[in-house]
């Protein structure tokens, strides 16, 4: 290793100058750009040149007679100066006039002077070089310490002259002796398939594209077999343009590791296979770059082509349902910060067709960088869409069950109340009718005839209200029978006629005929249709244009029946748009918010579905479907 060739040149210049004449010698001495100290045998400064005065920040005259130890802080180094006559003093601290210290390297030559000799010291400020050296030494120490155990080899590559120094270990790992190692040219041992890649890596490093030179390649051993080597290197010297001129690095035999990795990859594949078999999809997320690799079943969940790489942010966050984003991100960050051992979250993931599916995600950071930042997360995703919907439905049903229990309670109360109320109402009606008839017989009494008639009418009206309330709250005990929906629609339209007139709404019926009969509780279906019709009428109470409520029945593709109620109102209100069927949410000032919830329960109890087909500023379409009648399932209460 030749580190300071330039200094050798200076030394040669100073040493070989000779004494062609005092004047010339003096001129050379004075004008030399390098600091020179001339010491006598006692170690005192005889003379210095301008450069030295500049370096030590003295007046030149003041330096004469100074003890060398004043300038060279490491006095011990001076001890053997005229005894052992060392050619150089180790780099060490020198002291300026102001007391500040700098690192300098000193070359020494000796000139006979009478019966003694003088020492000529060429001083070079190596503060910068010293730093590098220190770092280097430190790094080398570290490397050696860290890598010795693993049997790493060290190399030192001078890019100026192309010379490469290899440590003993470099050859040893390839089966060469120490002597052979010195003669080795590793480039020649490189596997032909790896040459291009290694060159690329080196170029990239030289151009500053990579922070560190790293390459993995095969080198041919003495026995002809190839060993896998991982090389790492870093520039320790650079030229003015910043290009590396010297790279220091290591070689590590990773043949075993690679074998292990291949085994690991195989086992990872097995693991992946096993998990996929359980329906779990896998993902592998390079956290820093954002790149996400997913398994085929993951791709299947989101409807992506298997094997087509996904963009970094394509999965999260961009495919997450906006409503689930916060929860999922909280779960991620709780894990990334170490609060949770595993990231777990359930959220909706957008498939390529735009639909959302519920998935359950579990993930764990598998790799972190030197600063502890996560670089790789691996995990699973399970399609829990159906379970989730089922759970949602169950939750809702539980909610509604509790509600239904209350309703049944209310229903029973209403039933009892209806009976109790209907009796006096009947009596009222009859008594007033009797009174009217007696007036007819006796003649006259015109003044009280009208109010009597009113009493009779109001008694009937009160009875109707009681009946409706009771029919509405009766939820338990479905009375199943064959129901012709067109008839129900016609009845309910008649029922709502009064309300429709009050809101200037006209009905437009579009009833498919013939329409399959369905198996259902007619009263409950009446409840549903009446509810939808009433909602439709009320939705148009502020409509400026034509107020038409379209009610359409049609045969469903599965042989069942579908009913649509289409209004021309302003669409669903913001507060109910998310789930118009949620119980206890109402847009009406006096609404309980149960109408649609009960409707949905009824329809679902019948094996059908109730949904909002569309809701725009131009109106809203509610639909429900009922399944076709099952053969023999006429529900004839067990008649043979």
């Amino acid at each position: 290793m030749v580190r300071h060739s330039s200094l050798q040149g200076e030394e040669a210049a100073a040493g070989r100058a000779g004494p062609p004449g005092e004047q010339r010698y003096r001129a050379v001495f004075d004008n030399a750009p390098y600091p020179i100290l001339l010491l006598d045998a006692q170690g005192c400064v005889l003379d210095v040149n301008e450069a030295a005065a500049l370096l030590y920040r003295y007046d030149r005259a003041d330096m004469r007679g100074l003890r060398a130890g004043t300038l060279i802080a490491d006095e011990a180094a001076l001890d053997g100066l005229f005894g052992a006559r060392p050619k150089r003093l180790p780099a060490g601290p020198h002291r300026r006039k102001d007391g500040s210290v700098f690192a300098a390297e000193t070359r020494v030559s000796y000139i006979p002077e009478g019966d003694g000799q003088l020492a000529v010291l060429l001083v070079r400020d190596v503060t910068e070089a010293q730093d590098t050296l220190d770092r280097l030494a430190e790094a080398e120490e570290r490397w050696r310490f860290a890598l010795e155990g693993a049997g790493d080899a060290v190399w030192d590559w001078n890019l100026r002259d192309g010379r490469v120094f290899h440590s003993r270990r470099s050859g040893e790992m390839l089966g060469y002796t120490d002597e052979e190692t010195r003669e080795l040219v590793l480039r020649d041992l490189l596997h032909p398939d790896d040459r291009a890649a290694v060159s690329r890596q080196i170029d990239a490093y030289k151009k500053g594209l990579t922070p560190i030179y790293e390459a993995e390649f095969r080198l041919r051993g003495k026995d002809g077999s190839y060993r896998w080597i991982a090389a790492r290197g870093k520039a320790v010297e650079r030229d003015a343009e910043g290009c590396p001129t010297r790279i220091l690095g290591t070689h590590r035999d990773i043949s075993e590791t690679r074998l292990l990795m291949e085994t690991l990859q195989a086992s990872e594949r097995r693991w992946q296979f096993a998990l996929e078999g359980h329906g779990d999809a896998l993902w592998d997320w390079a956290v820093q770059t954002g790149e996400v690799k997913v398994s085929p079943s993951f791709a299947a969940i989101i409807g992506a082509q298997p094997g087509v790489p996904l963009d970094g942010n394509d999965i999260w966050p961009s495919r997450l349902h906006p409503n689930d984003l916060r929860g999922a991100m909280a779960a991620f960050s709780a894990h990334l910060t170490g609060a949770r051992p595993i990231a777990e979250a359930e959220f909706r993931l957008c498939a390529n067709d735009g639909s959302y599916r519920w998935v359950a995600l579990r993930g764990k950071v598998m790799e972190r960088d030197a600063d502890g930042r996560p670089t790789r997360m691996i995990g699973t995703v399970r399609d829990v869409h159906d379970q989730h919907l089922a759970a949602e439905r169950e939750k809702r049903q539980q909610r509604e069950l509790a509600h239904a229990a209350r309703l049944i309670h209310v229903g029973e109360m209403a039933s009892a109340l209806a009976h109790e109320l209907n009796q006096p109402l009947t009596a009222m009606r009859n008594f007033s009718a009797v009174a009217l008839r007696r007036l007819d017989e006796s003649g006259g009494g015109e003044a009280i005839r009208v109010p009597l008639k009113m009493i009779a009418e109001q008694a009937l009206r009160a009875g109707e209200i009681v009946h409706r309330v009771r029919a509405f709250v009766r939820k338990g005990g479905q009375a199943s029978g064959r129901v012709a929906l067109n008839g129900v629609v016609a009845d309910m339209v008649r029922f709502a006629e009064f309300e429709a007139r009050a809101h200037a709404v006209q009905f437009a019926l579009d009833l498919a005929d013939p329409l399959p009969v369905v198996q259902a509780d007619q009263v409950q279906l009446e409840q549903v249709i009446s509810n939808l019709v009433k909602n439709g009428i009320e939705a148009m109470s502020d409509t400026a244009g034509d107020r038409v409520l379209i009610i359409r029945t049609m045969r469903a593709p599965d042989g069942g029946v579908e009913v649509q109620v289409i209004d021309r109102g302003g669409g669903l209100a913001e507060s109910v748009r998310a789930d118009p069927f949620a119980p206890f949410v109402s847009t009406k000032p006096d609404g309980v918010g149960l109408g649609l919830a009960i409707c949905r329960t009824i329809i679902e109890n019948h094996g059908g579905r109730l949904w909002v087909e569309s809701s725009t500023a131009g109106g809203c379409t509610f639909c429900f479907s009922l399944p076709p009648m099952t053969k023999g399932g006429a529900g004839d209460e067990g008649n043979p």
Binding site: E420, M428, R429, R437, G463, R470
Partner: protein, 222 residues
């Protein structure tokens, strides 16, 4: 009201008037309803007897005998309205029953109709509908009663015939000539003619055609 109470207190009053005068019975456990229905029906001229329970009605033999139309509450303590209807059916009394109920329970209506109820009205009802149905029920009952009265009268007349007269009558209804009947029975033509005159007299018919019609209609012919 007073009128009805008197009616209730004097069950024997109508006995002399005979079972042909249409009687409407109202059974309802609710006093006001029972009274109002009774008064209502009385305004159209039918005598009414009312009961607060089904068993009370069953215990009144006179009412059971004369009832033309029954206005019956479905749900009552003790024997229910439908229960009473079934009981009447078993007793062979086909009285038109108009059910009135404060509960519109579908299964109950179905059961009542299956048992042959004349109608089912939900309380409160339009009284005109009830009155119309009562009228119709009474007319139906009157027709049925006349029919059965006539039938029992015919039975009495037929029973008054001697065996030989009956044989001759059967021959007459079968369209056989006197001579043929005489041969069938092995008696003289003259004897046949005498029997024939007795048959016409006992059955109170003026012609052979009338005789045939009566026998066929009564279902007593061979």
């Amino acid at each position: 009201m007073r009128e009805t109470h008197e009616l209730q207190r004097a069950p024997g009053r109508s006995r002399e008037t005979g079972s042909d005068e249409p009687l409407v019975c109202v059974v309802d456990d609710d006093d006001a309803v029972r009274l109002s229905i009774s008064l209502l029906i009385e305004t159209v001229g039918f005598p009414v007897r009312n009961f607060s329970s089904a068993l009370g009605m069953l215990a009144d033999h006179d009412a059971m005998e004369r009832v033309h139309c029954l206005v019956l509450d479905v749900r009552m303590p003790g024997l229910s309205g439908v229960g009473l209807q079934e009981r009447l059916g078993r007793l062979g009394r086909s009285v038109p029953v108009i059910f009135v109920s404060a509960h519109g329970d579908v299964p109950m209506v179905a059961r009542a109709m299956r048992e042959g109820a004349f109608d089912f009205l939900q309380k409160p009802f339009n009284e005109q509908v009830l009155l119309d149905r009562v009228h119709e029920a009474v007319h139906l009952a009157v027709r049925r009663r006349r029919e059965s009265a006539w039938r029992s009268e015919v039975t009495v007349r037929l029973d008054s015939l001697t065996t030989r007269e009956r044989d001759v009558m059967d021959g007459m209804v079968a369209g056989r000539l006197n001579k043929q009947i005489a041969e069938d029975l092995g008696i003289s033509m003259k004897t046949v003619e005498q029997h024939r005159a007795r048959v016409m007299e006992k059955l109170q018919v003026g012609s052979l055609a009338e005789l045939v019609r009566m026998v066929v209609r009564s279902g007593c012919g061979d």
